[in-house]
Amino acid sequence: MSASASVNLSTRIRKRVSGGNRIALLLLRRWDARIAIMIVSLLTLSGVAPETLVGPLQTATTATADALLPPSGTHLFGTDDLGRDLLNLTVHGARISLVVGALSAAITLVIGGGIGMIAGYRGGRVDALLMRVADTFLILPTFVLALILAPILRELIGDQTEIFGIRTTLLTIVAVIGFTSWSSTARIVRSQTLSLRERTFVERARLVGLSPMRIIARHIFPNIRTVLVANGIVVIAGSILTESTLSFIGLGDPFQPSWGTILGNAQSAAAPSLGAWWFIAAPGCAILITVVACTIIGNAIDELLDRDVRVQR
């Protein structure tokens, strides 16, 4: 096969791949995105099967080591003030942080995406009202709102029950983050919907008699799907940050520690003034790496999307 023929074939294959998949392919070509995807996969793995990696979660009673040991051969990340192995805690923390991050991002996307599409497509008063509410949430110190909401919600629900093996304490946090962080997603989706609504293909669909629901399903949603994915990944990063902050303050579940909870323990144990840097380092780096990786993936999708749109126009 001649060189030009094979180039031809590869372009044809590339063209057959639909938008979202092509973005995924392009993503794998960027080295920064590749590293980020590897990191997130590793974290997901440790979140799925922490026991096989580091054994069961250590508690105050099952801890065997001395308190506040610096990193060594036996305790790679050192131990905390109760003698628990920090590697064990950090790996187990991944599950809580990731689950809370993913669930609250899901809530955010459903609320924000739904409101954004309705506001953008309907326009007029519905749009004005919904965006007024969204703006309020965008401006307000939602973290402070979350701080107040979390204990109130917890007292209303009670924190002793479990749903699908997740304690309600965590579900409260998920609900609070989802409820307070949907507005920027709604804004993005609305502006996308608004510009799609003005595009000629939507106008033509109206002209030939397609119903609004069908237009949203056929033309609007497919065209914002990738934007939603990009935004969703960035939202996961934001949710993990918010979760860690809430847990740090002590609103997390002490029986299912997340990275924020561990850092909260470090603060109560005065780790910084004791110079116990390892107590702070492991969980903090876990948060940092996760957030950086998610942001890189989200931004890379966004950039590719942007270029994709530019090339097509």
């Binding site: 063209k15 639909s18 938008g19 595009r199 000629t200 293909f201 106008e203 033509r204 669909a205 109206r206 002209l207 030939v208 008699g209 397609l210 119903s211 069908r214 056929r218 033309h219 497919p222 065209n223 097509q312 126009r313």
Partner: protein, 332 residues
């Protein structure tokens, strides 16, 4: 497609009948405006426009940007409701989609990048509950051959000219008697234009489809249409057979358009601007809306809007809205 093209001189009612259509775009009002009871002063896009298109006829609507030509196209297509006036196709209201099709300016924007060409053409059929076998015949009629090969392709693989053919196929699927084409070739490369123009003429000849051809290009309007309607600031200032309007323009605005038209003919005189300034953006001038830019304007021009009357020395159907039309000096 056994339908024969009808003679446009028939005494029967026109295919498209537009009477007294006016559209005002309301300026956005904030809550503060409502509280202060400020009146909504809008922008007049169309001001009592009359227009006929007969079966099998190509009528060109000519105007600069801001003349209201795109608004007119949308009103006729039913995408915008007129504030006043009547739009009828074969005596029915504007929602009779099956007899009016539309071709848009930008073929890159008209096709959804996420859908195949077959899905695009089928969209209208599906919405109207028509049989799907028209997809192939429409693609073939738009000279996208073999049709089966195009159905599963996505817009990205097509050139601008091919895309515009697909858009035309999408309009043809609904078996229209009239297609509104809003600047259908202005985004295309010079080499693609001829192909699309050829297709438009072919469809008129073979299927008797009438076209309302919206354009800013006077030469193109003159060449492709039977009749030309000149629009300025939302009102018809001159209309008539293409040849008459271009050879013997009766309105100062039409004359200015013609004088400004550059030509590749080495013998043609060079262009010059007969009109001052640009289409005003805000308020429409009182009386004749062109008077602020017109070299022939007199005081009386400000008094009332000049009616559309038979052009002095013009042929049948040549009408002009200018009180000084009879006194204009001959065009050099």
């Amino acid at each position: 497609m056994s339908e024969q093209p009808r003679a446009n001189t028939s005494a029967s009612a026109p295919l498209l009948r537009v009477r007294g259509v006016s559209v005002t775009y309301a300026a956005q009002r904030s809550i503060a405006d409502l509280l202060a009871r400020r009146p909504a002063n809008g922008i007049v896009a169309l001001d009592s426009v009359d227009l006929d298109v007969n079966a099998g006829e190509i009528v060109a609507v000519v105007g600069e940007s801001g003349s209201g030509k795109t608004t007119l196209a949308r009103v006729i297509a039913g995408l915008i409701d007129a504030d006043e006036g009547v739009v009828e196709v074969e005596g029915e209201g504007p929602n009779d989609w099956r007899s009016v099709g539309m071709v848009f300016q930008d073929p890159y924007e008209t096709l959804d990048p996420k859908r195949t060409l077959g899905e695009f053409v089928a969209e209208g059929l599906e919405a109207q509950g028509l049989p799907m076998d028209r997809v192939n015949t429409s693609l073939e009629a738009a000279e996208l051959l073999p049709a089966a090969a195009f159905r599963d392709r996505v817009p990205e693989e097509l050139s601008g000219g091919q895309r515009q053919r697909v858009v035309i196929a999408g309009a043809l699927a609904l078996n229209p008697k009239l297609v509104i084409a809003d600047e259908p070739v202005s985004m295309l490369d010079v080499s693609m234009r001829a192909q699309i123009l050829k297709l438009i003429e072919q469809l008129r000849r073979d299927q008797g489809i009438a076209w309302l051809f919206i354009t800013h290009d006077l030469s193109l309007a003159w060449a492709i249409s039977d009749r030309v309607v000149v629009l300025y600031l939302g009102a018809v200032v001159e209309e008539g057979a293409a040849e008459q309007v271009l050879r013997n323009p009766a309105h100062p605005y039409t004359r200015a358009l013609l004088a400004a038209l550059p030509s590749t003919d080495p013998g043609a005189a060079s262009t010059h601007s007969l009109a001052a300034g640009e289409i005003p953006q805000g308020d429409t001038p009182s009386g004749c809306r062109f008077r602020n830019r017109c070299a022939h304007a007199v005081e009386a021009c400000a008094n009332k809007r000049p009616p559309l009357e038979a052009a002095p020395g013009g042929g049948a159907g040549h009408r002009v809205a200018c009180i000084r039309a009879a006194e204009l000096p001959p065009l050099s």
